[in-house]
Amino acid sequence: MSEKKYTKDHEWVSIQNDIATVGISNHAQESLGDIVFIELPSVGKSIKANDEICVVESVKAASDIYAPIDGEIIEINNNLENEAAIINQDAENTGWIFKMKISNEAQYNELMSEDDYKKFLEQ
């Protein structure tokens, strides 16, 4: 598994071969508070970086999840269907949201490293 990278919209991405796993960062989960529902994307959907892909609903507010890279959705985390709170417990691991086949690895390389993301949060 490659190094985990982050977007300005607080998604995390890790890639293995040409498959990227995407979720929301622990910081995002903390600021959203109790997550009660997630509208998961459809498998097979082609997406472009920065497209709205799905919605995470917390008790407080709805929050859009954006595609970090171009590609196609190939798998969704069905466990979240009934227990969206997994994201609160383990946002950057078992709380992953979808997997995608990526078509442009250069976009991944442009994302923030964990250290850069930490600095970004401090700004």
Binding site: G33, D34, V36, F37, E39, V59, K60, A62, E81, N88
Partner: protein, 374 residues
């Protein structure tokens, strides 16, 4: 001009206890603490939770004839007949019968004088105080001296009894002055969560020590505005700026029970004739409860539609209900709507069938002898 939010007196205490602060109604307020909104909500429904609501307005007005005459232009109650040591839910009304604010007015003796003690919304302090001071120039706000706490939940009596002597026969909407460490505190058996509970107005100097004592009780914790909102929504209670505003009358909002019907004939009362008319005929809108039929979340501002895709209303408050484990909302629909038909909600870019229901969503759990509605 953008003004920086004000701080409640115990801001630091809350932050030290893990509060996440957000700006609300001009104040930095705790939205939730470390265990989150859903847990706080459940604590209040099952045990006891403490809210610091010191952002709210509190004022004392001399109970005398001139003040009563002036206040009765705005307040649809017979103020001369307000029972001593009782709290009443009421409104300030504008000339059209629209709601300037909703508030609790109580008749209590304070410092040896008969007073009206009024608790009103933080977001409406300017509007309300302009009226209070016009009606009664000697009126004194007390929120610069006193904090206001709400202790809510089925165990709140047991928790509070350890600290303040509460008479056994104190019921919902009763209010009195008690002693806490030699100083006077105003205690009412009220709240806005649908649970039994108390609201306590206490000197700022004593308030941290008081909270620390309360928090020593088992199964008691600090709760923020996030759970306060989901609790009041489940209880079907209206919130100013959402269900209530200057273009909505108490009749529109289904709050006729809070009006003194005789006062409506009094020409002196703002909008009295309009309200009588609305009660006789039919208002153009009706407040309803809505429940999501799936996992979708209902949010403020979403359109409500009939089965022909016509917009028939709007959601004014929506949230996740921890007790029902699905999303609930309050909204207004046109009264021409055929309620036998299905109601739909425009949830983001989808149109979904929702269920109309009566309010409240849960059974209220007040301690009382007789009946009262809200």
């Amino acid at each position: 001009m953008n003004q920086l939010p004000l701080n409640i007196p115990l801001k630091k205490f809350h932050e030290d206890n893990g509060a996440k602060m957000i700006p609300f109604a001009g104040f930095n307020m705790p939205i939730n603490y470390t265990t989150g909104i859903i847990n706080e909500h459940k604590i209040v429904r099952n045990h006891c939770g403490i809210f610091d609501v010191s952002h709210m307005g509190q004022i004392l007005i001399d109970n005398n004839e001139i003040n009563i005459k002036n206040l009765e232009q705005y307040i649809p109650l017979n103020l001369k007949n307000l029972k001593k040591n009782k709290s009443n839910y009421t409104f300030l009304l504008n000339e059209n019968g629209g709601i300037i604010d909703d508030l609790i007015i109580s008749n209590i003796d304070f410092k040896g004088k008969s007073n009206f003690y009024i608790v009103y919304n933080a977001s409406r302090k300017n509007e309300d105080e302009e009226i209070f001071l016009k009606c009664a120039p000697s009126a004194k706000t007390i929120y610069n001296k006193n904090c206001l706490f709400a202790i809510q939940g089925p165990n709140s009596i047991n928790v509070l009894e350890n600290i303040i002597e509460i008479p056994k026969d104190m019921n919902f909407l009763d209010i009195n002055i008690f002693k806490y460490e030699k100083n006077e505190v105003i205690v009412s058996r009220t709240g806005y969560t649908g649970e039994d509970g108390f609201e306590i107005s206490i000197l700022i100097e004593q308030s941290e020590n008081f909270l620390k004592k309360i928090l020593k009780s088992k199964d008691t914790m600090l709760c923020g505005l996030g759970s306060r909102d989901s609790l009041r929504l489940e209880a079907g209670l209206s919130l100013y700026g959402h269900e209530l505003n200057e273009n909505i009358t108490p009749v529109d909002a289904g709050l006729i029970w809070a009006l003194d019907k005789e006062r409506l004939n009094d020409k002196k009362l703002n909008g009295g004739n309009i309200l009588i008319d609305q009660i006789k005929k039919k208002t153009s809108k009706k407040k309803i409860g809505i429940i999501s039929l799936n996992r979708s979340m209902l949010r403020e501002g979403m359109n409500l539609l009939d089965n022909k895709n016509n917009i028939i209303g709007k959601i004014t408050s929506g949230c996740f209900s921890p007790n029902l484990n699905k999303s609930i909302a309050i909204g207004y629909v046109n009264t021409e709507t055929n309620f036998k038909n299905e109601i739909f909600c425009e949830i983001r870019n989808k149109i979904e069938l929702v269920k109309k229901t009566n309010l409240p969503f849960i059974k209220k759990n007040y301690k009382k002898k007789g009946g009262n509605n809200e």
